[in-house]
Symmetry: C2
Subunit: 397 residues, 2 copies
């Protein structure tokens, strides 16, 4: 009995496949600092659970396929802060940013079509692409250039008659890059010239450091009918378990098409939508405090990493990740060793090997992604552990 070719072609999550090693380490009594996943330790604003707890209808019923009106309104208000005006039929609530991404791919590309993605990229782009037969075509970006985009020529070189969209995350996961105004305009220009959609994964919108200017693809008027924004409450409000995302576009006809997909899966969870409405009522102080916290963490990790001999990384300016080149041949082997064979006073760290973030074979083999999602103390400890580990690692380059 054969499975589909597409599901067999799907890569196993390069992050999640190392989980058993971490579990074994914990069984042996080791403490593991998880820098491998984007699960922040920031508290979810209390008003989420307060709203959920108040739910007192007798029947937990289906809600609207497009999302509950209160949540759509909350998003419309939120986007105004960023100078983007969306109407009610230009917003659809989804099961996390994941479903928004999946629906965007299905809506713009058929089996065998192509979507251009700067690499390294969020691995699930590849996963969802494979699941629905869309080929992810990489454009490589480099740590030494802070993972900024290559030239127009380099990007245009990979465009074919089957290219349907450019997909990118800004701020970038796993790179921590924040694209400049020039880069955003370059992508807009290429999209226009070659008649492509731009799928803009902006779930880390709030996480931009050093007072850098942030330009959303939703701010570029000339391509507003080509832009599909993928959004989520997961990182913004540290509410990953709510699984509430959204897809937004000024292209009303496109949104009508995507609504059919929403109708197919009936609706998003009722309670989580009710909670999410309240999340959008937090004050600006919340965002400010969280941003300060992450910027501090970024600095600790950047300082820590650059003080380790042989580790190379650029200072990230957004999201809460950094990709570091390690003085090892194979970062995955190193991570397994960290979990299986190493500890510093009973503690170790877990990183995400970066190879899985690249589509081009061979790239990223000596790189790892570090998520700075733990508190100051734990991060300092983690950097110390990593430093010691790299001193002791027998297969150091």
């Amino acid at each position: 009995m054969n499975f589909s070719k597409r599901i067999v072609a799907m890569q196993e999550s390069p992050i999640r496949k190392l989980v058993p090693f971490a579990e074994n380490a914990k069984k042996q009594g080791k403490k593991v600092y998880h820098l491998n996943i984007g699960q922040p330790d920031i508290e979810t604003p209390e008003n989420f659970m307060n709203a959920v707890r108040k739910f007192d209808e007798k029947v937990l019923a289906y809600t609207f396929s497009q999302g509950i009106p209160e949540l759509i309104d909350a998003l419309i208000t939120y986007y105004k802060k960023y100078n983007m005006t969306f109407e009610k039929d230009e917003v659809l609530i989804t099961n996390g940013g994941s479903e928004a991404l999946l629906f965007a791919l299905i809506a713009v590309a058929d089996d065998g079509d192509e979507v251009i993605v700067p690499e390294p990229f969020y691995t699930n782009y590849n996963g969802f692409g494979a699941a629905v037969g869309v080929n992810v075509v990489p454009v490589t970006t480099y740590a030494s250039e802070g993972f900024h985009l290559p030239s127009r020529e380099t990007i245009e070189k990979v465009i074919t008659p089957r290219t349907r969209a450019i997909l990118l995350s800004n701020p970038g996961n796993p790179t921590g890059v924040v694209y400049t105004k020039e880069e955003v305009n370059l992508i807009a220009d290429i999209a226009k010239k070659h008649n492509l959609f731009v799928i803009a994964d902006e779930v880390y919108r709030e996480f931009v450091y050093d007072n850098l200017e942030y330009i959303s693809f939703g701010n570029i008027k000339e391509i507003e009918d080509r832009v599909i924004i993928v959004d989520s409450v997961s990182k913004r409000f540290s509410a990953c378990g709510a699984r509430i995302g959204a897809i937004l576009s000024k292209n009303k006809e496109l949104m009508k098409q995507i609504l059919k997909l929403c109708q197919g899966r009936l609706c998003c969870p009722t309670l989580d939508q009710i909670g999410a409405v309240e999340l959008y009522k937090v004050s600006d102080d919340y965002f400010k405090a969280v941003l300060e916290e992450y910027q501090k963490r970024r600095d600790i990790v950047y300082e820590g990493l650059t003080s380790i001999p042989g580790v190379i990384c650029e200072k990230p300016t957004g999201a809460f990740y950094v990709i570091a080149k390690l003085p090892v041949e194979d970062a995955e082997e190193f991570v397994i060793w960290l979990l299986k064979d190493f500890d510093l006073n009973g503690e170790t760290v877990m990183l995400a090997p970066a190879e899985g973030f690249y589509a081009t074979p061979g790239l990223g083999k000596d790189e790892a992604r570090i998520a700075y999602i733990l508190n100051e103390h734990d991060l300092r400890k983690s950097m110390e552990i990593l430093k010691t580990a790299l001193e002791k690692y027998p297969k150091k380059k």
Copy 2:
């Protein structure tokens, strides 16, 4: 700018597209009895919200991609009642039965592959099929035969080299059919002979009337590696808004493949899973009471319908739907008329035109699906309204 062919090919939800007419009717002050959707009025067991309210972790974090262990265990225990033994890696929690269905299709079929489905069928089979490029090939069943399956020859006639699975709901939505042991064995036999998967949508498993024997495809040992069960808490516990479903199969290798899809979308909502665990702790009395209630409703609707001149329907034996042939040319037109131009003392009913449940063009045009999900009083009222409406309808056949 072009959208994908697949999304354009997706049918708009034939049920949801009439919603604006219902909303207008309500704005005019009419009361609308909704017999058009499978949203039961049965109360969700209180222990769902009780468990959710108790959640007191500071961070609403991601959970396991495969589902929380407590819920997987709850399902394993539940299935034992039905003489099915599943291990932990044979159960995956999904975002409703919808996602289970989508994942099953992706896992067994590639773009252009075919899945055989007895029609009339749950319209979203078609929707999801279109979204991921899988062709739904219908085998027609008839009201006059209680929507039971046709002969082996009729089914085998539509099998081609691209057929990958037989997909069917049992008990049937929208037909209310419960397949006999012979029918289940026939499908099992065909699947084995032609090397096909069986995707068994059994979300209405509890809703079987008249003490009829119910055979799950999971009970057929000889094809256990071919059976993929789609399940959900939505109808079982009247918890549609929780969006918690599951996919189960004894084919461990298949489940490993589907796990990749689960990892891609990270996890299902945390709170709803916690609530769902408690749902599975309700006593057998709960199921008994609910079943009695629905059987009573079924009887009221069946009696009501058969007392209306010109209406033809068989007594359904499962789920909570019945398909009725109406004495009208076009059931959709009739439903719009019911909402726009008719009322009995300020009240009207909404049905689901059945044409959208068929893949074969022209079929079901004079049929409608009625969901008996309201209380006794409202159902009696609805039947009275429908009877009067059909007397007054100007375009009666």
